[in-house]
Amino acid sequence: MISGYFIHLLILIGIYFILAISLQLAVGFAGLLNLGHIAFFCIGAYTSALLALNNFPFWLCFLLAGIVAMLFGFLLSIPTSKLKGDYLALATMGFSFVIYAVALNWTSLTRGPLGLPGIPKPTLFGISFSDNFSFLILIAIIALISYLIVKKITTSPFGKVLEAVRDDELATKVLGKNTFKIKTYALGISAFFAGIAGSLYAHYITFIDPSSFTLLQLIPVLCIVIIGGLASLKGTILATIILVLLPEPLRFIGFPSSIVGPARQMIYALILLLILLYKPKGFYGKVELE
């Protein structure tokens, strides 16, 4: 009885977690305040959905979702390579608007505002993940692998250089590192994971339309990254769980029906504010962005 509801929440945690650690890699470790992250999520979701609707196997859709998103990540890093901080944030935000507009207006491919219905649930090696519990297991495995890969990247020498770029790009350049290449890789890898999160999202919800990929949808993910603490994977896990679960008990508080929507949002916002008031760097934050 409660299990179906709970499994759904766990699946959401899984999707958000992959999305959040990929953003963490760009924002927390590489210091690239990327507000276009939702666009990679969108590209992944659409790539996977369109391929799946044309009867491609799930594993191919899934991988291509990541790879196409990664290519766009590389692409985005070229014009934004000289930008920093708020300027980078604005430029990447523009990118997310562009992708949103394309999804909305390229009607012959994406069906525009009508969206893509009937995206099949994944099947892998003959096993169907159509019921929620098996889907949860799939997500858990992918989330775990993503976590291990990101963890490996951030603790490797490459990760150290990445953090050096974040802290002092000029100094890193002086040491003879190609910071442009490093930032490009970081953005590409980050986009890859956002793309696979998008693929999982599309196959779980089974319907996507451009309204799921607006800048507004990025805010909870950015909240997770900031509240969990920049450059901390442990914090990201904790924050994902808290932020996804937090609104749920509020459903059980019996507000009068006239204020039910806004009241829940207010309480949610209040709790977030309190967390940031007492933990300005997030739970396990190590650095602050300029």
Binding site: Y5, F207, D209, E248, P249, F252, G254
Partner: protein, 364 residues
Amino acid sequence: MNKTTKIILLVIFIVIIILAGIWYGEIKKSKEKGKETIKIGAILPLTGNAAKKGEYEAQGALMAVEEINSQGGIKGKKIELLIEDSGTDPKKGISAFRKLVEIDKVSCLIGGLSSVGMPLKDLIEENKIPTIWVSAHPDFLTGTKYIFRNLPTSAQFVEALSNFIYQEFKLSKIGILYMNDDYGVSLKDEFEKIFPGTILFKEQYDKDGKDFRTQIIKAKEKNPEVIFIAGYGTATGILIKQLREMEVDAQLCGPIGIAQVDTKKSAGLAIKGVIYPEFIDNSKEEVKKFKEKYMAKYGQEPGVDSFLGYNSIKLLAYAIEKSGLDPDLIVDTLSNLRNFKSASGMLNIKNKEVRYEITIKKIE
């Protein structure tokens, strides 16, 4: 206190809030256990950019529930309406659905917005929840059994309009000017399919355009009797104004969006005499009565969605009264419903679509 203790305390604090919330909810529920109720769930966009639609629908639905309960409920059982916010987000919509169905165990569902409804389709079918949804998405009813659509589709509007032009006005030479977005294009396609007369031209105009004289000159050459303007908003208003300025005297008609305030504003006096289809007829007694009651209760004019929300609940209540809580029986009763008295006049259900009486109106 060091950092870790603080974090642990914070987590404990949050967990306590969560538990308190659940506990409070449980207490509330057990209190109500004494009197058995019929639970109907509502998944509405109460926050986000469609919040106004959700508010209207919720208010309409609540009004219907109050009315039914004050008259003694359904066979002595009161209706309990459980409203959940979808925030126009499909993920939250699914969370709300799971909560309503698995924990509250609602027997029927109402709701609105296509982007939230589309992903719920399979879940609704799986759980066999009779559902009445406000959505205009063309694919919404494909492959479903338990879902009803409570909103006229553009095909129905166009059908009414084209019949009116062909049969009442006896005009058959028509031209189409359509806006270059999904609304305009889909209306144009429907019109082409349905209209029995000859279509002289189809010209596209830009949603953000200001000067449409090129299209108008082309249109004038063909000399149509009627021009169908498939669009809405400011650009459409400017188009109408320029049509009249260039002395095109054909009868103009358009979709429901042509009667919007911004279209009227930008068209000025030129909009007079334009005909359009409408499904809530302000001159009807029922509509006037509903408006009065609504004003008295909420202090604001009802929106279209208020009527829809009200009707959704009334339809479900009628079906439950007739056939109990068995989902298949409810669906059967609703599927064969004829001449149901609602807040907006008589309505029928055909092919799982609630059919409103569409009337053709003239802008004065």
